[in-house]
């Protein structure tokens, strides 16, 4: 029974940790499938985390915060698109510029506005955060652990953004593979010349992709600052954008495999938290350093051994110019 309980709790933690990764990875998927490298995931999420926490702190409304977070991420997405699509700049350089700029700008603005050393005020009031409510009978269900605990921990009580993430995955798959827009989006990432020849604007499609990516990054960033914690702290995305990008490559730029990769990373993270200081049979207590490195070791091993070749969209990173 204890093992069952442990497993359920690790799975619940996996869901919480995976949510921002999944949303960010899908954001990257739209952008990269259209041929724009989305290295700016980290910066866009951090900007959204800051904007949403700041606005939620001032207005007292989590929804206003979400709106501000999405607006900030979309704005940065459009900045990157303007540099890379309109002016055909180097996508990696533009994205890194955004990441570095946000890492410095967000704490600076926070310092100027709130005078709390680059943090936003704590979000204490109930309306300022997207906290989940337990579903009906969740407490009662705990009395019958076998399906009950799973229902109470895994299905009920998450933040609305977690359920949103669960919807976004199939929705993205549907958009990408079942709609005309998705077909064109994929085509523009593989062979923009063909799309152009068919009389469809390559630049408009890439802008749309950056827009979608911005919206999703905004949601992911909002999750980090108003659900997983309560307020903005400098560098609080802590590399989640890059991890999402790794998951995207891991998942070969497809929605469901990407979801699986995100869940795997999150599971390793959640499992690592519980492995610390626990004596394993036959091994003894594993050093903390090793456990903290475990998710990354796992990534390298899986990437090297099991995933096989991961082929990027052919035109990713290549600016499109009509003249050539």
């Amino acid at each position: 029974m204890d093992t069952y309980r442990e497993v359920i709790l690790i799975m619940a933690a996996t869901i919480r940790v995976a949510t921002p990764l999944v949303i960010a990875a899908l954001a990257g998927m739209f952008s990269e499938r259209a041929g724009v490298i989305d290295l700016a995931l980290e910066g866009k999420m951090l900007a959204a985390a800051f904007a949403s926490a700041a606005v939620a702190a001032v207005t007292g409304s989590a929804w206003m915060g979400l709106g501000a977070g999405v607006a900030a991420a979309v704005f940065l997405g459009l900045v990157v698109a303007f540099a890379c699509v309109t002016h055909r700049g180097n996508q990696v350089v533009a994205a890194m510029a955004v990441n570095i700029m946000v890492a410095g700008l967000a704490p600076t603005l926070a310092l100027a506005w709130f005078e709390q050393g680059g943090q936003t005020p704590q979000l204490d009031l109930p309306g300022q955060r997207f906290l989940g409510l337990p579903w009906p009978w969740a407490q009662a269900a705990r009395a019958h652990p076998l399906p009950g605990l799973a229902y109470a921990e895994l299905v009920s009580g998450h933040s609305p953004i977690v359920y949103l993430a669960a919807i976004v995955v199939p929705a993205s798959a549907w958009v990408l593979y079942r709609t005309r827009f998705g077909l064109r989006l994929r085509a523009v990432g593989e062979n923009p010349l063909a799309v152009d020849t068919a009389g469809i604007s390559v630049n408009a499609l890439r802008y749309q992709a950056c827009l979608i990516s911005g919206v999703l990054c905004g949601v992911a960033g909002t999750y980090i600052s108003t659900v997983a914690s309560a307020g903005f702290v400098r560098d609080m995305t802590a590399g989640k954008g890059y991890l999402a990008l790794a998951a995207l490559i891991f998942g070969k730029w497809r929605p469901y495999p990407t979801l699986a990769a995100c869940l795997l990373f999150a599971f390793a993270d959640a499992g690592a938290a519980r492995l610390q200081g626990v004596a394993l049979p036959g091994v003894g207590v594993v050093p903390v350093q090793f456990i903290i490195a475990l998710p990354y070791i796992l990534t390298v091993l899986l990437l090297a051994g099991f995933v096989g070749e991961s082929v990027a969209p052919r035109a990713v990173g290549v600016p499109y110019s009509k003249e050539k």
Binding site: Q116, R234, V288
Partner: protein, 325 residues
């Protein structure tokens, strides 16, 4: 002569302020920044107090990346700082380098030891306050399980963990302690969402009190405890006010006193180099009881904590100290 009088008066009026300006203290904060609501903020409070009492403002700098340390330290020294206080163990190597280059400048290093003729090193016996926190946690816990979340995995944080464990075991040897470190890089000090996740994992295993020694990451730990309706214990600064009714107590580390004392001693000329170790006896560490946690600390708990405090000072209880291997 008559025409000179106003000038002389002016000079006389200016003289004290000139002398005050002669004393120019400087402080360098560590990662996390001076409003981290924890370690650095405590140092900043010492600076504020010195400014309030003497009217002398210190030059301040908040480290953003490791390469800035030596650079800014040198700059302060070159521009004639009377004393430079470096807060945080990560500044040790920079102090060692720069203190050799400027033997006339006084350096005070908090949280680490550098053995030079112009360096004062202040270290704390954190294990003693952690011991009291461990006792408080064990006394408050209903499940017999308590948690610890550390920031970066370094000997200093192990020191907290070991003292905490000893305190828990002193009250109830059968109690279980879950221990988690957030990471192995300085990023582990600024990752509140991971801190919250670690705390939740400990709550999931039955812990109902969690102690953090994790800087800004700890803000997430305390938030998670408040969200779950359980108890947390703050660190370094008095953090009882962050979530009234959910913060059991805070392990105080009087960095503010250390900084204030260093500044005023340097001003009076009584500053001495060497190693200063501050523990419960010197009131350098302690646990907080104020209006925010008054209801959580029962009279019985307070009595036991005070007794243990006296016993540690008198040497009746020996708190184990972490020695790095």
């Amino acid at each position: 002569m008559k025409r000179l009088l106003p000038l002389l008066a002016l000079m006389a009026a200016l003289a004290p302020s000139v002398r005050a300006a002669d004393f120019s203290p400087a402080i360098i904060y560590d990662f996390g920044g001076k409003f981290d609501r924890s370690f650095n903020q405590s140092a900043s409070e010492g600076v504020q107090r010195f400014k309030k009492e003497t009217g002398i403002a210190a030059r301040e700098f908040e480290i953003q990346n490791a390469s800035q340390r030596e650079q800014i330290m040198r700059q302060f020294a070159r521009r004639g700082a009377s004393i430079i206080v470096a807060v945080g163990f990560t500044q040790a190597s920079a102090v060692e380098t720069v203190a050799k280059e400027y033997p006339d400048v006084k350096f005070t290093l908090v949280d680490a030891v550098v053995d030079l003729p112009n360096v004062e090193s202040i270290v704390f016996r954190e294990q003693e306050s952690s011991f009291l926190c461990g006792m408080a946690a064990a006394l408050a816990s209903k499940t017999g399980k308590v948690g610890f979340v550390g920031g970066m995995d370094i000997p200093l944080i192990r020191k907290f963990a070991l003292g905490y464990r000893a305190g828990v075991a002193y009250v109830n040897p059968k109690d279980e302690v879950f221990e988690n470190m957030t990471g192995t890089t300085p990023a582990a000090w600024t990752n509140p969402s991971e801190g919250a996740e670690l705390a939740k994992s400990q709550f999931g295993r039955g812990a109902d009190v969690v102690f953090h020694a994790a800087g800004a990451t700890g803000v997430g730990v305390m938030q998670a405890a408040a969200d779950a309706g359980l108890l947390s214990i703050g660190c370094d600064s008095n953090q009882d006010y962050l979530h009234p009714g959910s913060v059991l107590t805070s392990a105080l580390k009087r960095v503010d006193v250390a900084v204030y004392t260093a500044f005023s001693e340097a001003r009076k000329g009584t500053w001495r180099p060497g190693v200063k170790v501050l523990g419960l006896a010197e009131e350098g560490v302690g646990v907080s009881i104020d209006e925010f946690n008054r209801k959580l600390v029962s009279p019985d708990m307070e009595a036991r904590l005070n007794q243990a405090r006296a016993d540690i000072i008198s040497g009746k209880i020996t708190v184990p100290e972490y020695k790095s291997p």
